[in-house]
């Protein structure tokens, strides 16, 4: 099927499936994709799975029924489910995967941040700032998810060989700021000697920074990941030492452009990995003005 059922004369229609609307990261990608689509004259329909992979399968089925010309799929759940990709391919609709790529059934092209090397850069920066000394507490995202694993792996490599010791780690369930706050305040209670806090997302890191401030431990170095607007602001204000800015504007636009190209039958690389940019006080102002 696919194509020109009734979506107007020649206007392309792209379906965007996002895992949730709670995370600024997904919101940013959606907004950038929608902006790009507007500029290109492409219609976008989007569906929010509220973190439920099962709902997401249904939503992709509905996209196919609607006769979208291409699908941009940001998988919900711990790791990517294969079924949406399979169904799209069966229906002959090109599919772009973003952020997570299903094992065994990859999208026609995959767009993501190279989290491992970005996290490694973050780890190296932390070593540099602390002289390789200190006690580290980690506020994890949702355990078992791809981003959590990649950020862990990269950061460990980054601090490998230094004398930084990890004294505590605790998982959040939904990457949320208030979770970060509560976890960090308890963590600092149990381990008052912590000098470094790594929140696996900016929300978590921001919560942690507030907890540190409330505990009167302002000299703790708090770092995050994502480069949300609020995260960037916090870096500028000195609440966060550093974060990794994911190029959401670029990724959103790229996803749409790739989809359009795939519809036109053009070649698109199987993987389009973007750098996560280490962001500190030095370069944050640029990113606040225009998010990459």
């Amino acid at each position: 099927t696919g194509g020109a059922d009734d979506s107007g004369e020649g206007t392309l229609k792209v379906g965007l499936a996002v895992p949730n609307q709670q995370s600024p990261f997904f919101v940013a990608i959606r907004q950038s994709l929608e902006a790009e689509a507007k500029a290109e004259g492409v219609d976008v329909v989007f569906a929010d799975a509220k973190n439920d992979s099962d709902a997401q399968v249904s939503q992709i089925q509905d996209f196919i029924t609607q006769g979208v010309d291409a699908i941009v799929y940001i998988p919900a759940g711990a790791t990517a489910a294969t079924v949406p990709v399979r169904s799209a391919k069966e229906a002959g609709i090109p599919i772009v995967t973003v952020d997570r790529n299903p094992d065994g059934a990859p999208g026609d092209t995959f767009i993501a941040t190279d989290s491992v090397s970005a996290a490694e850069a973050l780890g190296e920066w932390v070593v540099e700032q602390t002289g390789g000394q200190g006690e580290l507490g980690i506020i994890q995202g949702q355990v078992g998810t791809t981003p959590e694993q990649a950020r862990d792996e990269g950061f460990q490599e980054g601090i490998a060989g230094s004398d930084i010791v990890e004294v505590a780690r605790q998982a959040s369930t939904a990457w949320l700021q208030d979770e970060g706050y509560d976890i960090a305040s308890d963590m600092l209670q149990a381990h008052p000697d912590i000098t470094i806090l790594f929140g696996r997302a900016d929300g978590l890191a921001l919560g942690a920074a507030q907890a540190a401030q409330n505990a009167g431990l302002e000299e703790i170095l708090v770092v995050g990941f994502d480069g949300d607007p609020s995260g960037l602001q916090a870096v500028a204000d000195g609440e966060l030492g550093a974060t990794i800015t994911q190029q959401t504007t670029l990724m959103g636009a790229l996803a749409l452009d790739s989809a359009v190209k795939l519809i036109a039958g053009e070649e698109v690389p199987a993987e389009q990995l973007q750098d996560g940019i280490l962001t500190t006080k030095d370069n944050v102002q640029d990113f606040i003005t225009t998010h990459p």
């Binding site: 099962d54 029924t65 711990a78």
Partner: protein, 311 residues
């Protein structure tokens, strides 16, 4: 047939109105392919809601179905992938684990006399924790092709095995509650447990087995979902408990117990399913969808309340 449906008046009218509106306004809504999709989309919700109907008739509530589904699906995955058991055995084990969780719920309610809300809330937390713990939060992907086909292969060009299972389960559930002595007992227990006890009904055992049934159905729903997603995820079914209860109540059951009908529940399930599907087809933004869904849920139940008050 007309008899069976007439009692479900209010919600049925709601479903028909919704159906007509979407047929007119939503492109591609009224196509065989889409309607089949809807059935596939509501299979998991529908199976869970069947168990919840019986639980709610007894005057109870089951908040743990989503978490038990997750636990069952992880047991399926771990046994078949990590432990290397044959898939059919893992399937049986997954359903059994669901039943076991239901048994714990049932005994907590009937013997320990915990309020159902608390007993199943505790189970919700514990089962979710266990589901996560089994693989440290990771999902398990890739089942054999035949397993995937259960939910994707369409027989006679129409129904998948899982859709047929849904229908069969509803027919069994309907006949049971309506024509079995033990089904009647479920209504009596919910209507007034003391009267039921005086009538010689084993109230505790009825309550326990109803929760077991809900647990077994959650186990079956786990199989359906694993087949649909071709994977097992510890986050499966998060938050679905409220949708399940909403479907049953939209279908005309009262949370006070003593009333509720299987035919009503399937209508409630379809209202939720059709609504989601239709709004997606219309391309309504998900934020606006949330608002519309809230309004429609309230509206559907309101129709029913008004209709009953008139008579």
């Amino acid at each position: 047939m007309r008899r069976a449906l007439s009692g479900a008046g209010g919600p049925l009218i709601g479903l028909i109105v919704l159906f007509v509106l979407l047929s007119i306004f939503a492109p591609n809504f009224l196509t065989a392919r889409n309607l089949i999709n809807v059935v596939d989309q509501v299979t998991v919700l529908g199976i869970l809601a069947l168990g919840a109907t019986a639980v709610i008739i007894t005057g109870g509530i089951d908040l743990s179905v989503g978490a038990v589904l997750a636990l069952s699906t992880m047991v399926l995955g771990v046994l078949s992938h990590t432990a290397g058991a044959p898939l059919w055995l893992a399937m049986i084990a997954a359903v059994a684990v669901g039943g076991l969780a239901g048994m714990v719920n049932g005994l907590a309610v009937s013997i320990a006399r915990l309020p159902p809300f608390i007993a199943t809330l505790a189970m919700m937390s514990a089962a979710r924790g266990l589901a996560n713990l089994l693989t440290d939060g990771q999902q398990i992907t890739g089942y054999p092709e035949w397993f995937f086909d259960l939910s994707s292969q369409r027989y006679l060009g129409l129904f998948s095995i899982t859709a047929i299972a849904l229908v069969v389960l509803y027919v069994i559930g309907w006949a049971w509650l309506k024509y079995r002595a033990s089904g009647r007992a479920v209504y009596a227990v919910g209507g007034n447990p003391e009267v039921a006890r005086l009538a010689g009904i084993k109230v505790k055992s009825v309550v326990t087995w109803v929760y077991v049934a809900a647990g077994v159905l959650a186990g079956l729903a786990a199989l359906v979902q694993a087949s649909r997603l071709d994977s097992s995820q510890p986050s499966a079914g998060t938050g679905i408990e409220l949708d399940v209860i909403a479907a049953v109540v939209i279908g005309g059951a009262s949370l006070a117990g003593g009333s509720g009908r299987v035919v009503g529940t399937i209508i409630g399930v379809l209202i939720i399913g059709v609504l989601h599907n239709g709004l997606n087809l219309l391309g309504v933004s998900s934020f606006v969808q949330q608002i519309i869904i809230g309004v429609v849920i309230a509206g559907a139940v309101l129709t029913d309340t008004l209709r009953r008050r008139r008579t």
